[in-house]
């Protein structure tokens, strides 16, 4: 986003690459104190360890004394250093003056303020009461239904729509952060022609002026480029235009879309299909590199279903089993019962072998070490015929999808009422996007394109580099680009039209199962944005219609006004979900040509949309940029991810700059990636759980023209992405340059020194001993305290977080940022450990370096009953509430930071600087008026969304009844697709939270301190196949 991030970026500046031998005293100091990883020693240590050991970072494992010293400091040394160019003398002058004047700051009369009422108050709105409207957020070939909170006409918060099949009430990080995207002051605000500002009317004139020529030629020179279109109205408009101009062509390019899934369906069924999965019904799931719980169509719904299926309670102890084969760790792999790192190309071989094993024909073998896995997975699938499914990853080639379809058919999973069904495609016009773009490029190159309309998207940035889109685009006579930012593509188009955000537009969209929703605006366009409907309309024979009329006309035929209003109210157009199709695959896996296994010595490069900025479209969103990526926990940058073994082989390492003061500053080796005839320089990052020999290049970074937040962050992986290897390429090289680059990684902050914070067991162990989480834990008696006991006769708010469900997807973190007006601080400040997120998700590994088990643990304020923070505040700024919250009173806080020092959970956040943007007008509209906007020098932390508690209480007290369970939902709880976070009244034994806390899995972190937190955790339980030994587990040490 704009100002919030970039202001601090200026402070930090662009991080230069640090060269070791430089004579700058500063870098020399850093250089002398960095400490390198010794992976061999770590391996040795892990091999020796008996019993479970959880670890968070490679450095922690190595047990280096310097690293440990670093951890003893809560905030690193340099954090308290004065780093602006003010010398000591000036500093003393300033201090003296501020001391002398300090007492006066509270004096003076309050400035006069005015109240501005409506002239005509809109019907149905009450000032001070938020309203909720249903809409939907389109993303790629999917959409998620939302309820958007609006305060006096300003949308402020996104919630999921419980009635929408793609949401069921939950959201993801992208949807949560889209509020910031709406208000982003860097969005393009004017329509331009050759860089000059023009009115919409002059664009209309220019569009209408093309009509005679188009009519004469039948539209021969007209080309339209869109992303995936799932809007029935837009598709109808495009088809009408193509009918009017039969020679015109519509091309599609969705850079992170899945040609593999489309073509795989076609290969298996002879036609394009859409596949819908039902994880709720599946006992066994095999994911062939599919991140279906974290990305792709329907992932929020799938996560809901998947984790509901796996909830454990006292009497219910059944779980499904998930096998994930993946080249690079995803949130799906992180929660899998068996997560197997495997080259992307080997996944295809494994799929063939699995099909062969299940008797579908064909022959393929897997390496000996995977034979056992293959046997076990095949047997498990066989055993659960009709109640299992195989799902292929979006970025796997067509044959893997076809194999998955064939296996599902053979196992009767796709039978009626099964775990998989097929429908008409959700995309209105499914095509092979790569071929479509290639055709467009060829036409442009041959001079056949006269007028080019690019509706959304950014092909100059994200088209495969070998198509050389830019030089071909220049050959089009007239080009129009509709986009939210004046980006790389806008620069090469004559006309740039600012695009309306989805929260500003009328449109419609289909979700993963075909369910259609009306996209309704929450606010009039802030920056004169227009929709694709408007732009296509301008070229059609009906230019005058508004988007609203167009969308309405699509749907109201044969329906009443009441229906239309109901659709708008519900956020779903009833009965539009596609019916399952009865089709069968006639494709025989044996017809596949024999595949060659990838040469073991060659590096495999894979491309993936970044978990934070996706394909680059969210690059200017500061909330997403600062969001630690689910697995790597990097912020503000992407990095070439390699496995520990590959890093060793290539001599790559990263070093914590330990007494340089930065917890989060990791100096990482810079590498040159030479691939497909192109080169890019990237920072390398060693990631446990990555497949050996695979280099992951996350897309979406290295934007040269985004906004102030997104420009020049990370490296641009599109530079080496050719049409021959869109998702997976070999034949490239990776060379160490000898330079280093600082990366901001939050997994080095708030380290808890290896205490048993995460606890886990297998399902068998759990059944055998449901109390496993308390084995050996020190839990002092309640009475053992010096402090006065509080009584909680009324409500006692508490939270239970189920670690068996959390997949680290980050939706809660962004929801919290949005709800509580949390500032972003910029990369430089993150490297000093100063990020402000009130809820953080810690990532833990257990087991071997190469294929560890991964656990996530969300940590908000624990709201202790014996709160260590409260005892040390000298000014009474943090006090105990009668319901057990640790209240934080910002206007009393003088910033001693004692509370934070004394907090064993490290959940308090200090405003070292004025992180919040108080000036930009657009951002003022965005803030939640129910929460104070904090300034510099103030401590803050999670409040359990006390504004929601208070508002709910006020409402029920007016109705003279107690608060019902589930009536208060915290922002994190509401966003969570896995329903891992549950909040409620712990005093009420019938509440969901009390029931969870009564489970034996429930434990307190750092219970030995007797702080008695209200936030407790339910230990993770996984369901590994007993046939398969845990990799790396020494025989005889079965735990």
């Amino acid at each position: 986003m704009g100002a919030e991030g970039h202001r601090h970026e200026h402070r930090g500046g662009e991080e230069p690459e640090v060269k070791h031998d430089a004579h700058d005293p500063c870098t020399e100091e850093l250089g002398s104190r960095v400490y390198s990883l010794d992976l061999a020693a770590i391996r040795e240590r892990l091999a020796k360890s008996t019993g479970k050991e959880y670890w968070r970072s490679l450095e922690e494992l190595s047990g280096n004394p310097h690293f440990e010293e670093l951890l003893h400091r809560e905030f690193p040394r340099q954090a308290s250093e004065w780093d602006e160019s003010v010398d000591r003398r000036d500093f003393l002058k300033l201090m003296a003056a501020s001391l002398a004047l300090a007492g006066l700051s509270g004096c003076g009369r309050k400035p006069e303020e005015t109240i501005v009422p409506y002239v005509n108050q809109p019907a149905g709105m009450t000032p001070g009461k938020p309203q909720y409207y249903a809409t939907a957020m389109p993303l790629g070939a999917d959409a998620i239904g939302l309820l958007v909170e609006s305060h006096e006409g300003r949308p402020t918060k996104i919630e999921g729509n419980p009635d929408h099949p793609g949401s069921l009430g939950a959201t993801n990080a992208f949807a949560q952060a889209s509020i910031l995207g709406l208000y982003d002051p860097d969005r393009s605000q004017v329509l331009t022609y050759l860089g000059e500002i023009r009115a919409w009317s002059s664009f209309l004139e220019s569009a209408v002026a093309t009509a005679p020529m188009l009519k004469a030629t039948g539209g021969a020179g007209l080309r339209i480029l869109t992303g995936s279109v799932t809007s029935p109205t837009l598709a109808a408009q495009l088809r009408a235009l193509l009918a009017q101009y039969p020679q015109a062509k519509w091309h599609q390019w969705e850079t992170a879309g899945s040609d593999g899934a489309r073509e795989g369906g076609k290969l298996a069924f002879g036609r394009y299909v859409n596949t819908v999965y039902r994880p709720a019904k599946a006992n066994v799931i095999v994911s062939l590199d599919s991140d279906f719980l974290g990305s792709g169509p329907g992932h929020v719904r799938y996560a809901k279903e998947f984790f509901r299926r796996r909830k454990l309670s006292g009497e219910h102890a059944e779980m499904s089993r998930l096998y994930v084969l993946e080249p690079t760790p995803s949130v799906t792999g992180a929660v899998a019962d068996h997560s197997i790192p495997m080259k992307a190309s080997d996944v295809g071989l494994f799929a063939r072998a699995l099909a062969a094993k299940l008797g579908l024909g064909g022959s393929a073998s897997v390496p000996a070490e995977r034979e056992k896995l293959l046997e076990a997975a095949a047997a498990d699938l066989q055993k659960h015929r009709g109640a299992s499914f195989v799902i292929a990853g979006e970025y796997q080639p067509a044959e893997v999808h076809a194999l998955a379809h064939a296996i599902n058919q053979a196992l009767l999973n796709a039978a009626a009422g099964g775990t998989v069904y097929y429908t008409e495609p959700v995309e209105m016009q499914p095509v092979n996007h790569l071929e479509s773009l290639r055709e467009l490029c060829a036409d442009m190159d041959a001079g056949r394109v006269d007028t080019l309309l690019i509706l959304g998207g950014n092909p100059v940035y994200d088209a495969p580099h070998d198509l050389d889109f830019v030089s071909k685009l220049k050959k089009a006579r007239l080009s129009f680009h509709l986009s939210q930012y004046f980006d790389e593509t806008s620069e090469y188009c004559q006309w740039h039209i600012p695009e309306a955000h989805y929260l500003e537009s009328w449109s419609d969209v289909r979700a993963f199962d075909g369910t259609a929703s009306v996209v309704q605006p929450l606010i009039a366009p802030l920056y004169q944005g227009k929709t694709a409907h408007d732009v296509i309309g301008a070229f059609s024979d009906k230019p005058g219609l508004s988007s609203y009329e167009r969308v309405r006309n699509t749907w109201v035929g044969g329906h009443t006004e009441k229906d239309w209003r109901k659709w708008l109210h519900d956020g779903v157009i009833g009965g539009t979900a596609f019916a399952p199709m009865a089709i069968t695959s006639k494709w025989n896996p044996a017809s596949l040509l024999p595949a060659k296994p990838a040469p073991a010595d060659q590096l495999e490069f894979i491309f993936r949309p970044d978990p934070s900025v996706y394909d680059g479209r969210f690059a200017n969103n500061g909330w997403l940029q600062e969001l630690p990526k689910p697995v790597s926990k990097l912020t503000w940058d992407n990095a070439a991810l390699v496995s520990p073994k590959t890093a060793e082989k290539l001599g790559l390492t990263h070093r914590a700059a330990w007494t340089g003061g930065e917890h989060g500053q990791i100096l990482s080796d810079v590498v040159d990636v030479d691939l497909a005839g192109s080169k890019v320089t990237a920072a390398a990052w060693t990631l446990p759980g990555q497949a050996d020999g695979v280099v992951t290049l996350p897309l979406g970074y290295g934007r040269s023209k985004s906004g102030q937040t997104g420009t020049n962050k990370g490296f641009n992986a599109y530079v080496v992405r050719a049409s021959t290897g869109i998702w997976c390429a070999t034949g490239g090289t990776l060379r160490k340059t000898g330079l280093e680059y600082p990366l901001a990684c939050t997994q080095y902050h708030h380290n808890m020194e290896g205490r048993e914070l995460v606890r886990s067991a297998s399902l068998d162990e759990y059944k055998h001993n449901p109390n496993f989480a308390h084995k050996g834990a020190e839990e002092p008696p309640k009475e053992l305290t010096l402090y006065k006991e509080f009584a909680y006769p009324g409500y006692a708010w508490g939270m239970a977080i189920d670690l068996a469900s959390c997949n680290g997807c980050n939706a809660c973190v962004v929801a919290c940022v949005s709800e509580n007006n949390i500032a972003i601080v910029g990369k430089d400040q993150v490297m000093r450990g100063r990020e402000m997120h009130w809820i953080r998700i810690d990532r833990y590994y257990e087991g071997s370096l190469d294929s560890p088990e991964t656990f996530f643990q969300p940590v908000p304020c624990q709201q202790c009953e014996n709160a260590p923070c409260e005892q040390v505040c000298p000014v009474g700024a943090t006090l105990h509430s009668a319901e057990g919250l640790n209240d934080m009173v910002y206007n009393r806080c003088v910033g001693t930071r004692y509370c934070s020092n004394n907090c064993p959970y490290k959940v308090r956040r200090f405003n070292f600087l004025r992180f919040q943007d108080w000036e930009t007008p657009a951002l003022k509209l965005m803030r939640n008026p129910e929460v104070t906007v904090r300034s510099r020098g103030v401590m803050e932390k999670c409040t359990y969304c006390v504004q929601r508690i208070n508002n709910a209480r006020i409402e029920v007290e007016k109705e003279n009844r107690p608060i019902r369970d589930g009536e208060i939902v915290t922002a994190c709880e509401a966003a969570c697709p896995a329903e891992a976070i549950v909040f409620g009244n712990a005093n009420d034994p019938k509440s969901r939270v009390a029931k969870l806390k009564a489970q034996q899995r429930n434990y307190t972190i750092l219970a030995e301190l007797n702080a008695r937190p209200r936030t407790t955790y339910l230990a993770a339980v996984r369901n590994p196949n007993p046939e398969l030994e845990k990799p790396g587990t020494p025989p005889g040490d079965k735990r």
């Binding site: 003076g108 108050q121 009461k129 209240d887 910002y890 003279n960």
Partner: protein, 219 residues
């Protein structure tokens, strides 16, 4: 050796010391008094408004109910300042040519809001909710004073935190039967202490500890 200082020096030094301390104490008291004085709290200062709207006339003389204009006082945190339309409900007919109502007509014509001067200003970190106070039997006049006697409205209470807490610690002193909440002329009866206690039970008032928790008002 002769004494360098005269005996009286003892007195002078003591006097200086004690009067110095006294002066510091006095200064602190004065500062405290100023901070609580209407000079800084704006208490009892009638504010000029763009339209000389008289609550005395509308409420006192005409007997219009508070809720005719402040429509959301029972349901929302904000009592609500009436839209221009509410003024025009009557003033399109009554005093429709009066010059002092021109800003109202202008607002209605042009669609531009009247900018009223805020009389009761809360700091940004305080979250006051009208509706819950009204529903729990705290009358308008308990905080706003007898608005029916104010030609131009002034702030009748200091709006300092200790003033809020006085009531949150002892709400029984001001609780009224619900039908008396909008009565501007309500006076506490002689047996208010008893009535207040009964009402507190009837309204299920929260405990003092709950009512004075920081997060009750600050978030």
């Amino acid at each position: 050796m002769a004494q360098i200082f005269h005996r009286s020096t003892n007195f002078i030094s003591r006097f200086t010391l004690f009067s110095g301390l006294f002066l510091v104490g006095l200064a602190l008291l004065v500062l405290g008094a100023i901070a609580r004085s209407p000079y800084l709290t704006n208490q009892n200062i009638a504010r000029e408004q763009p339209v000389q709207f008289s609550h005395k006339h509308h409420v006192g003389d005409d007997g219009i109910d508070c809720r005719y204009c402040h429509t959301s006082v029972e349901t929302s945190a904000y009592a609500g300042i009436p839209p221009t339309k509410t003024c025009m409900n009557c003033h399109s007919v009554l005093f429709s040519n009066a010059e002092y109502l021109e800003p109202v007509r202008e607002s209605f014509r042009t669609g531009k809001s009247i900018q009223w001067v805020k009389v009761h200003r809360m700091p940004d970190y305080v979250y006051f909710n009208h509706s819950i106070h009204i529903n729990k039997g705290v009358g308008c006049s308990s905080c706003h004073g007898q608005v029916n006697q104010m030609p131009l409205v002034w702030q009748a209470s200091p709006l300092l935190m200790n003033w809020c807490l006085d009531c949150h610690r002892n709400p029984e002193a001001v609780l009224r039967p619900r039908e008396q909440v909008f009565n501007m002329d309500w006076k506490a009866p002689a047996d208010q202490a008893e009535i207040g206690r009964a009402l507190a039970t009837e309204y299920k008032l929260r405990t003092t500890a709950e009512l004075v928790s920081c997060s009750t008002c600050h978030r």
